[in-house]
Amino acid sequence: MLDIKNIEVFYGDVQVIWDVSFNVKQGEVVALIGANGAGKSTILKTISGILKPKAGEVVFDGAVVHKQEPFRLIELGLAHVPEARRLFVEMSVDENLDMGALRGEARKQRAQTKEMVFELFPRLKERARQMAGTLSGGEQQMLAIGRGLMSRPKLIMFDEPSLGLSPILVREIFNIIKKIRNEGMTVMIVEQNVKQTLAAADRAYVLETGKIVMSGTGEGLLNDEHVKAAYLGV
C-alpha cells in the first residue's frame, strides 16, 4: 500500500534521511521507532508532502505521490495525524472535524463520518461547540485522531500520539488505534513509547540518525537485545 524507495531528505544543506526504504502492506500496523532526532517525523512529513525528498520515491496505492501537490494526498486516502496535534485552536471541535473532510467523497459523507467519530470519542460530542484550544491534552489528541479519520483514509499515520499523555490515556489511545485497525484501515505509527508501540505493531522499523538499522515483527524486536538495551532500558 505504501512503498518508500531510497529516499534522501534534506533540511537546507543538511541531510537528515539517508537512503531509507520500507513498506506498509494493506491492513498492517507498522511502527517506526527511534530516539529523538532520528528522523521519524521527517519521514512522515515527507510521505505527506510537507517535505520533498531530494532522491527516491514515495509510492502510495500505486501512485507516485511525492511529485503531487501535497493537499491532494488526503483525497487519495492518506491521512496524517501530526505530532503535537496541531489543531486549529481557535475553531470549535465541530469545525476542526469539518476541516478533516474537505474534499471528494469525504466531503459528501461528512455528517455520517462525524457520527462515527463521535461514537468513538463521546467526549468530543459533548464538547462539539467548544474551542479546540480549551480542550485538555487527551481530548485534543482524540480530536486530532478524529480529524484524521474524517477523511475516511485507507492509511492513517500517527506521529507520537501518546506525547504528553498520562499512562491511562496512552493505553486508551492505543486501544483506539487497535479499533481503527479493526475497521480495516492500515496504520503507520511513529513513537518513542517503544514498548507499547511494538506490542501493538505487526512489524516495525528502527531508525537511528536518519537510517533504518533494523526491522522485524513487533514481537521479534521486543525481544531483541539491541532494542532492549537502547530503547527499553532492560
Binding site: F71, E90, D98, M99
Partner: protein, 304 residues
C-alpha cells in the same frame, strides 16, 4: 451632553468604516503573517476607480462597489501571485522582504495615481452629501438636538452589511473555514487538504476587495488625493495592533474604538489632534495590551 452624544455617534459611524479597513489588513496578516503596508494605497486605488466612474459615467459611489470590489480582488490576486509569492520563495537574510515589497507596491500605486490624476484634491460631489436627519424632525419635543448625516449613515450600514457577509463567509463556508485554518496552522491546513497557496492568494484578493469597498464608502464623505493611502495604511495598522494581530473580531472592536477616540479628540482638542490621539492609542496598546484587545478576552476565558 448634546455635543458628547453627537461626537459618540460620529465616532461610531467612523469606527464602522475603520473596522472594514482593519478587517482587510487583519485577514492578510493572519494568513500571510505579514503586514501589508500597501493597504491604504489599495483603498486609494478603489477610491479613484469610484471617482472615475462618478465623474465620467455619473455612477453613484455606493453603486461602484459592484465594480471596485471585484477589480480590487483581481488586483490583490495579481500582487500576491506575481509579486509577493516569488519573494516568499527566495530564502533571504531578511524575513521582512515581503513587507518591504508591499511598501514598494504602495509607492508605485501612489505615484501612478499622481501621474494619471495629478496631486490635486478630488471629490465626488453627490447630491445628498450634506443631507442629514435631525432628531427634532421626528420628535418635536426632544430634549436635545442630534443630527445624523445621510452619507455617513449609508456608509455605516454598508460597512455592517459587508462585515456581516464576511463573517458569514468565514464561519459558514468551507473556503472561509479553510482561510481561518490556514491562518491558524499552515502545515496542518495543508495536511487536511487545504490548497494553502490558493488560500493565500484568495485572502490577499479578499483583503484588497474589502479595503477597496471601504474606499467607495469613504469617498462620498471624504476627499481624495494620491498620497491619502499612507494615512489609511497607518490607521489599519493601528487597528490591527489594537484589536490583536490576525483577529477579525479584534479588528471590528479596534476600528470602533479608534473611530470613537478620534472623534472625541477632534471635538474636544481640535481636528489637528486626531492623528496624535491615534498614535497615543497605538503606543498605549503596544505597552499595556501587546496582544491586542482579543488577548484580554482569552485571559478571562482561561481564568474561568
Amino acid at each position: 451632553m448634546e455635543v458628547l452624544l453627537q461626537t459618540l455617534i460620529a465616532g461610531l459611524l467612523l469606527g464602522g468604516l475603520y473596522a472594514l479597513i482593519g478587517l482587510g489588513m487583519t485577514l492578510i496578516m493572519g494568513v500571510m503573517k505579514i503586514i501589508n503596508l500597501a493597504h491604504g494605497e489599495l483603498m486609494m486605488v478603489g477610491m479613484y476607480v469610484a471617482y472615475v466612474l462618478f465623474s465620467a459615467f455619473h455612477i453613484d459611489p455606493y453603486l461602484s462597489i459592484i465594480v471596485v470590489a471585484p477589480l480590487l480582488f483581481l488586483l490583490g490576486i495579481v500582487f500576491q501571485k506575481y509579486l509577493i509569492n516569488p519573494v516568499l520563495r527566495v530564502e533571504a537574510i531578511l524575513p521582512e522582504n515581503q513587507v518591504i515589497l508591499t511598501v514598494g507596491i504602495g509607492m508605485v500605486l501612489a505615484n501612478v495615481a499622481t501621474i494619471i490624476f495629478s496631486s490635486n484634491y478630488q471629490s465626488t460631489p453627490v447630491s445628498y452629501a450634506t443631507t442629514a436627519w435631525y432628531l427634532t424632525d421626528f420628535w418635536k419635543g426632544a430634549p436635545l438636538e442630534l443630527s445624523l448625516s445621510l452619507p455617513w449613515s449609508v456608509s455605516f450600514v454598508f460597512a455592517i452589511f459587508i462585515t456581516t457577509g464576511l463573517w458569514f463567509f468565514l464561519s459558514k463556508t468551507d473556503t472561509g473555514k479553510s482561510i481561518r485554518a490556514t491562518a491558524q496552522d499552515y502545515d496542518a491546513a495543508l495536511l487536511m487538504g487545504v490548497n494553502v497557496k490558493k488560500m493565500r492568494v484568495v485572502t490577499f484578493g479578499l483583503g484588497s476587495a474589502l479595503v477597496g469597498s471601504a474606499g467607495c464608502l469613504f469617498i462620498p464623505i471624504y476627499y481624495l488625493y494620491p498620497d491619502l493611502g499612507g494615512q489609511f495604511t497607518l490607521i489599519a495598522f493601528v487597528i490591527t495592533i489594537l484589536g490583536g494581530l490576525g483577529s477579525t473580531i479584534g479588528a471590528i472592536i479596534g476600528g470602533i474604538i479608534l473611530g470613537v477616540f478620534e472623534s472625541l479628540t477632534a471635538t474636544y482638542l481640535g481636528m489637528g489632534w486626531a492623528p496624535v490621539g491615534r498614535f497615543a492609542i497605538f503606543i498605549l496598546a503596544l505597552i499595556f495590551i501587546p496582544g491586542g484587545i482579543v488577548s484580554l478576552f482569552k485571559k478571562r476565558r482561561l481564568a474561568r
